[in-house]
Symmetry: C4
Subunit: 318 residues, 4 copies
Amino acid sequence: MLKNIENTGFTALSSAEGKRIANKDGTLNILKTGLPFWERLSLYHSLLRMPRWKFLLSIILFYGTLNILFALAYVCIGVEHLNGIDGDNLPGFLQAFFFSSQTLTTVGYGHISPDGLLTNMVASIESFTGILSFAMVTGMLYGRFTRPKAYLIFSDNALVAPHKGGTALMLRTASYKNNHLTDVEAQLTAAFHIEEEGNTLTRFYPLKLEISRVNSLALSWTLVHFIDEESPLYQMGAADIQQTNLEILVFVKGFDDHFSNIVQQRTSYTAGDIVYGAKFRPMFRKSDDGSGTLLELDKINWHEAVGLTEPSTSAINA
Amino acid sequence: MLKNIENTGFTALSSAEGKRIANKDGTLNILKTGLPFWERLSLYHSLLRMPRWKFLLSIILFYGTLNILFALAYVCIGVEHLNGIDGDNLPGFLQAFFFSSQTLTTVGYGHISPDGLLTNMVASIESFTGILSFAMVTGMLYGRFTRPKAYLIFSDNALVAPHKGGTALMLRTASYKNNHLTDVEAQLTAAFHIEEEGNTLTRFYPLKLEISRVNSLALSWTLVHFIDEESPLYQMGAADIQQTNLEILVFVKGFDDHFSNIVQQRTSYTAGDIVYGAKFRPMFRKSDDGSGTLLELDKINWHEAVGLTEPSTSAINA
Amino acid sequence: MLKNIENTGFTALSSAEGKRIANKDGTLNILKTGLPFWERLSLYHSLLRMPRWKFLLSIILFYGTLNILFALAYVCIGVEHLNGIDGDNLPGFLQAFFFSSQTLTTVGYGHISPDGLLTNMVASIESFTGILSFAMVTGMLYGRFTRPKAYLIFSDNALVAPHKGGTALMLRTASYKNNHLTDVEAQLTAAFHIEEEGNTLTRFYPLKLEISRVNSLALSWTLVHFIDEESPLYQMGAADIQQTNLEILVFVKGFDDHFSNIVQQRTSYTAGDIVYGAKFRPMFRKSDDGSGTLLELDKINWHEAVGLTEPSTSAINA
Amino acid sequence: MLKNIENTGFTALSSAEGKRIANKDGTLNILKTGLPFWERLSLYHSLLRMPRWKFLLSIILFYGTLNILFALAYVCIGVEHLNGIDGDNLPGFLQAFFFSSQTLTTVGYGHISPDGLLTNMVASIESFTGILSFAMVTGMLYGRFTRPKAYLIFSDNALVAPHKGGTALMLRTASYKNNHLTDVEAQLTAAFHIEEEGNTLTRFYPLKLEISRVNSLALSWTLVHFIDEESPLYQMGAADIQQTNLEILVFVKGFDDHFSNIVQQRTSYTAGDIVYGAKFRPMFRKSDDGSGTLLELDKINWHEAVGLTEPSTSAINA
């Protein structure tokens, strides 16, 4: 009987038909409710993780809004309180808008300047708001740059290949940027939907790797799980995999030389990603001028068919 | 005889009647004296930890003070040394104030400009002060954003539930923001007031958890301490708990994916927080559209009464 | 025979008469030569570690120098190329100086503005220099704030106190700021000058602590090394300590809650710091209003004399 | 038979004649292809690692390009829309260029100011671009300062010296800046080209160090690998080393006191770097005024010839 691992942090979930636990990019399919929206979201985390274009748009919207709000304030007080307005042929609101922009960014040309107590006060507040906002943007930009990422690619497929007289589950990962990971560890976990006391629950089992740790991820690393009698996958045929919604959760962690920090990355493989009877082909070769090794990142999923004996029974070993 | 743990860092304190060691939010009730105030406080730490409104107020006060001080300097030198003053109808000090503001924020419109050696020097110093202050504020804002926090909520109550034929002390924690903790460890410590040689001392005992470490805190985690013969809580009834000012200190530590840093959080449960004869109800369920799992954070303390055999003696096991 | 520890990183140094290896503030007495000065010093490290007043002075000198250099450039090109000069009664160089200042800080009032190709180019270069310098200062200021420090104070003296029927070497440390250290470890190493093959060498021996690790340094922590037969200090009298230039090197490391980083601190005790026959008095007590514990930091070295049996021989155990 | 280490992260590479795996500065000779250029490079990493002069040039180019692009925009709209142009004798484009510069850096003198809707809009966009760019440069500058580096120098040569009746491979390292490394670990790996099944492959073997970890790298540290029967280098003569393209890969890791972070550094020694029959001379001595220890960094490779028995066979032990 396999020992269900209790310490994954995933209590047995009621089965969600067809829905995977983790996505290919590593995010988890868990929704949280019960606390107000603003308490559940960390604005900083969201700003840090959103795509580049979305982040830039947020900043533009943010400054644009501040700009307009202050411009409205100047208009309310009265645009005649902005010196130098007359010399231009733009409408009053537009002139207030551009003056507001010049104050917010602290350019402060001065051809338009505040006149009178109220306008001066608003301008003063606006210039301070400008530098505080700028301080925040600097912090967030820096946070985005330095967010440690592992920059790993994984093979699209996980292969079941002949290995040491039996079979093994294999998948491959490589580092695709010009960074260097050391002390790299990997963990594979298999998630099955099991019938227990009439309920469908998800249970988690560790998949032991032949090598779970490399000193340095310079090239590619093929993670190998030997499917022996102790493996949860022992004697599972293709039909069993379908039936149990098997999902292989992958977790890789290492120390990144550039960030000088621990980095992590997750992915997952579902039944449809598993190829029976194949083995990986090398994804590196000598470089053309013989000067070094060439790692061909687009070949990370490169595999060829290999004969495999079908498992004799189709019982799930659980 | 239980082994008092000596390495908590808490030497036996003389008992403070009724006062807890740690508060629910994790802060400790220890005052420090003997060094001058400014040496005992880390200004940076305080600025980092104070509530958002308090921090903003500090910045506003700081800049306002600088603004006024420099304005006074201009007035002392003489406001006639500020070109462009005449063109306005505000009192001299106010004009100096706004000029000071425009210099401090480096907006520098120029409709008012410094004239003469002294005023130019003060303005020069003020503009440098402005950019140095801004550099400090940027640093502090960034420090506040990136202060790694665990963002955990804990159940209000700790329950004593039936477990494996005996009883167990249970409490529950969950991560409430959209972050992801890995390698999460928890420690429970029980603090009792004991009579020893006529003094009342506080002694600390570890409470062994069935699972003290989870790989990933994706959902909720129920910490379970089985009250067997080795437990300090063995055969303690409600009266004993009252008498000894029992306090359960909770410490949780994990690696946060977003901060790429170790995060920690503490809390504590006193006698009044412990509920006898109850067990937690699940706080997650399948989401309505069946697309995933829903974690209901407001149900973290959701429990139901369960029958429990009262301990036969009320002796404290110490 | 004691096992000399080889892995301290301190190879046996030729003895430096009377000179200690580490100072009380933890710095080491090692000079490095053989590489050019600018390669041996990390400017960033020096700027980070220098006292606050020295750092401020460096920044003022740096900006002042840039200011003057650019002012000289404007004068060389000719101050008549600065518009608005005439309207003031200051000498040309001073006007150029203040214009330079207004450009460097990007205040840019505009009552003086550049005229002609050369002056415009110099002003353009100066404004970019200004913002780059400002970026550097922001980085350095932030680096200074966030430099993780342990903020520990140590007792001035190390005491030899009666302990468990024998004697023990004790010293005390406490955290003096409002931070919180967890997972705190300490190491004590004894350094002796030994005669070996006609040379005087320094050898290092570990001093085993009864408790080398506490979970949380909330109050004070007394480090206790029991002087049993295995201790390098066994049967050393006051004369032996003098003769061997005994130095106790202390190293404490912990995880700081605020910096979310590992922090370290070192100190050392020489023969003159060791007090025979004394024990520490508690440095904490119940606070006056009974509301909590009061840690009296100025009492960290508070000890009282206690009788002690003199070691019967004075042989050095090496 | 030696156990080939499988967990280096370097799968057996097809031999690259004469080309080393790692360079003296620690970089690896691996090229990656198969993904578009912009996905394979982390711009942030490159900007962080490039030499100082190259980084400065990049920033100058970046700002210069922005400057010119916006100037062209003003010219396209028409320079007559810039107030104050007439008062100068420079060509229109140059005036637009300098106005663009004053806007980008937010100096904003104001003697030239935008007139009309389009020019005002472009100026507004330019000032925001200016502050966002500045935020990015601040972040990158800070990233460059704080990039944790180990600052280690290594001896040019690795020596084969007489040691404990046999021979040992030795190399030396020292910390050359005014930083302090603690918990320093080192790993040596030997890489050989081996004939296997008609192919030439590279295989990796660990070289066991007598001391692989020091508490503190204050002076120099000589890494010693005793060449006993278990060593891969046992009975290898100079000819064998040539033939197998022996490469010694060195990896040192420690905790840096200033960066409060783990730092790493790599280097490698090829056949040409190994000197037979020599031993290192001390690189430290008492300082001239007897006040401390002097570490002479330029003497790190200082060695003297020592007689050595040639290995009796020249078989490669693989």
